[in-house]
Amino acid sequence: MNSPTADARQVVRAAAQWLALLESGQANEQDRANLQRWRDSCATHEHAWQKAQALRQRFADLPSALALKSLDRPEPGRRVVLKRALGAVALVPAAWLISRQLPLEVWRADLHTATGERKKVQLADGSSLQLNTASAVDVDVQSRRLKLIEGELSLNVPGASPLTIQTRFGQVIVSQSEVCVRQDTRGCRVSVYNGVVQLQPLQGPALTLRSGQQINLQASGAGAILPFDALMPGWREGVLMAKDQPLGDFLRELGTYRPGVLRWEPELEALRVTGSFRLDDTDRVLALLAASLPLEVHSRTRYWVTLLPRKNSV
């Protein structure tokens, strides 16, 4: 790389200062006239001025929100920290992006949601399928099977012809009923919102679950059938409800809807939360928590947020 001459540097500096003066809104008629004279006086001046305008145009052409979040992130000085954090996950987003670009096949569709995303799909037979944050489902319409690969789905089958949800911990057979299934590495929770659902755990006999009942399936078999409040709104309505819930549990749940890192001090873990929060703006949920509990939100960026006990709280 050749280093620019002192003259060229001087011209660039002048162009930059003219532009900043103009943008500041403080330029008067005299300044404008002087700028015009400067541009006219030499071809290199005009050239530098045009390049500065082209630079502005490069930014103006970008989708602003996306560009801002990408370019205004934790600075490279944190590379050492980032390095450790990024090494393991770097391949995941790329794989995610590729899979989302694959065309949907007719008979075998892969549905995904990103972190924080929720999606509703109408199936051809009138059934509706909803995916919660960070979930993946294979849909095989021909054999009327859904495979929950990860995350959480809700399925409403109004017709008599059953759809089978396959999980790693057993099968759920749904017809004329509505069910939510949530799966993680340890197990799978099945909640019936309407009608009756047949279950086949990996171990043990088949079970019948009715509206308002919930069960946990694990590799070792099914747990006890427990009641739950099927009328309480939840993620399907875009709401996160808490009734006197430990803050730690609440934040772990909220964190599944946020890309990036959400951390909190251990002493906040046992604070209690009650309320109904909208999932489409989780930043606002954090702000609401800070308004009602003795804690502060520290955001390095939107993707790196730490909750700390409020310092001057009594």
Partner: protein, 169 residues
């Protein structure tokens, strides 16, 4: 590559044979992924091939390779952190506002070029510049956000323009 004609002179082949393993293990201690280390080590040698440096004159090859390797490593982290921020932002967007799949990679490339362009600017200057260019904030609004004077913002902006225009020069 044969060096039979000049057996005494250090060739690219010699360098590659003698130092590639060493460079790769240096890089892999700083990266969690062995493939990345191998890629970066190849890139380092490619830079050497493409540079005007006469290989026969290279006195301290390891020092030279390390300098180039460190620069590539730092670019690598920077690109990766940008990529991650970009993907996170993309993931958080409603589907119908997000750019189409075809333009996503193109956009990432553009952002990477601009990210390199802005590299080296102090944090506050960089933010002031981005807010002005991308959010269209006035200097007064930026001054309020950063809690400095408008005069300082004017100086920041001039600094940022100068920096970007010099890189392009």
């Amino acid at each position: 590559m044969s060096d039979a004609a000049m057996p005494k002179e250090q060739t690219f082949h010699d360098l590659y044979r003698d130092h590639r393993g060493w460079l790769e293990s240096w890089l892999s201690r700083r990266l969690s992924n062995g493939c990345d280390a191998a890629d970066l080590s190849q890139d380092t040698f490619l830079r050497l091939l493409a540079s005007s440096q006469r290989i026969a004159d290279l006195q301290e090859p390891r020092a030279y390779l390390l300098t180039v390797g460190k620069r590539l490593l730092s670019n690598f982290y920077q690109r990766r952190s940008l990529e991650q921020a970009y993907l996170a932002a993309l993931a958080a967007m409603p589907e119908d506002c997000a750019p189409s799949p075809e333009t996503r990679w193109l956009l990432l490339e553009t952002l990477q070029a601009l990210d390199e362009l802005l590299d080296g600017l102090p944090r506050a200057v960089r933010r002031a510049f981005l807010w002005s260019q991308l959010e269209g904030l006035t200097y007064q609004q930026i001054a309020e956000r950063l809690q400095v004077s408008e005069r300082t913002i004017k100086r920041y902006m001039a600094q940022a323009y100068e920096h970007c225009l010099l890189v392009d020069l």
